[in-house]
Point group: C2
Chain length 262, copies 2
DNA sequence: GTTCTAAATTTATCATAATAAATTGGATTC
DNA sequence: GAATCCAATTTATTATGATAAATTTAGAAC
């Protein structure tokens, strides 16, 4: 009838029923997010207290509290009791972001080769970017990690520990990335692989030669990073990735069998 | 002296040092997560109802409800009223995962060149993987998208629309990825760039030649995908990425200025 | 058989009150 | 005068019960 005039002027006519059954706590949470963006609030900036929000939004205490738990679960606020307490904006931590993304992949079937395809694309590029940019402190830290296990593992327990150490090494490199998106993705993969070692034994039988090669790679890599040799760093990492992939049991397909904890 | 043990002199130092100040709703939420993992529940499987959880965990209704909002915010459950209602496990949707990860980068300073560095690494590889694997339906869909804008944009409004269409094209490719991690990262970047166009004008002045080249790329790419020409697909995408990057205003640095909506 | 209505079930929201945690100011102590 | 303890204050946390809203199911009416 006469209503159809709106169609030409409002392209989002189909989105109109968008204001459907979102619960009140969700609506309140969204309004608070909006409020934070509008005022460009940053980490530590305080939100109105519970009583003020009850008045502001005209909802009950329980509704406000559920809204706060929503924001808290997403890592957007932190809450404290006592005078000067209340809720404040809190940057989403990398750990929280990793856990939340891990929940998504819990329901997917990521394979080790998926992970390694990405590692081979990203990590060589990461170290090429890092070459010549790291400060002495970081280099020292990396060198110390690279020298941490001077001998091949003698027990499965030791082997697991060495593998986790290696992943910490990679995560440390990722943290140094200028490109935070690249750094995040690499950290996420390291975290997935790290969790794996806790629940499964999926490494091939220890192989002294492969192990020695891996160790050599780490040491050479730090050297190349220090000297700013971009392509050498890239090549070492690529070779390292290929070696690491060969050491994994590629049979193991579903690799996220738990929800991550922060 | 009075030893007022009634206060808080119950330091649970005994077994779990980790069990510190996590609130009751968070503890309940974590227990439910464990419960889901233990029983290997999948999407649609039902959780006990509110009353049962109150009894099960020995907490109040409000506490249980806050726990449910936490899980709901993370995308892990969905809740319905009425008979046969209650809470059920719900796969985290890609859209939800993108939003949650977007919250993390809201506080970061991602640059366009960060995004494009990753796009140039991942998207050529994506199409190389896809070459020869797409069904006719998907190919038809892609072809239709590629032919959607036969003329260069005449207004900024049209230009924005064309750019978004291009991002939808890339997102569609990402959805087809076998490697879901790679697909997710590419979708995430498309989403970030898509949101940008809504809030900022950041494209260089329209350039008929560049525009024509971009259009050609999409058409040729679908052709290469259909024929299973891996390296040609890869080359086209790489060239396309370089062109797209040149069209952006690289001055624009902070690119996440809002919380994403689902 | 279809449609309407009422009842039953379950979450959603609200209101109120009691409890716990953290800070602050002041009194007490050395 | 500085440190310590204590009580008052502020704020979130948990609990309880009542009422509303949404949804399904069963039954009644036609």
């Amino acid at each position: 009838m006469k209503n159809n005039a709106a169609q030409s002027s409002e392209p989002k006519i189909t989105d109109a029923p968008r204001a459907q059954k979102r619960s009140r706590p969700v609506q309140v949470a969204d309004q608070i997010k909006h409020w934070v963006v509008e005022r460009d609030l940053r980490k530590g900036d305080k939100l109105p207290n519970e009583a003020a929000m009850i008045a502001q939004f005209g909802v009950s205490k329980g509704t406000v509290r559920e809204a706060m738990r929503i924001l808290e679960a997403q890592g957007l606020i932190v809450t404290k009791t006592g005078p000067g307490g209340g809720s404040a904006v809190g940057e989403v931590s990398k750990e929280r972001a990793i856990s939340l993304l891990g929940n998504y992949f819990y329901f997917k079937n990521l394979s080790l080769s998926d992970i390694y395809q990405l590692r081979k694309l990203l990590e060589p590029e990461l170290v090429a970017n890092l070459a010549g940019t790291l400060d002495e402190e970081t280099l020292t830290e990396l060198r110390s990690m690279a020298h941490q296990h001077p001998e091949p593992a003698k027990t499965p327990e030791e082997e697991k520990q060495q593998h986790i150490s290696s992943l910490v090494f990679h995560a440390r490199l990722a943290d140094a990335a200028e490109n935070e998106l690249m750094g995040f993705v690499i950290s996420f993969m390291a975290r997935i692989l790290s969790d794996l070692t806790v629940y499964h034994r999926l490494y091939a039988a220890p192989n002294k030669e492969l192990w020695e090669r891996g160790r050599r790679h780490q040491i050479d890599l730090v050297d190349a990073l220090e000297k700013g040799e971009r392509s050498r760093a890239r090549d070492i990492m690529m070779s390292h990735m290929e070696g690491a992939e060969r050491m994994m049991n590629v049979q193991e397909m579903r690799i996220t069998r738990q929800f991550m904890t922060e």
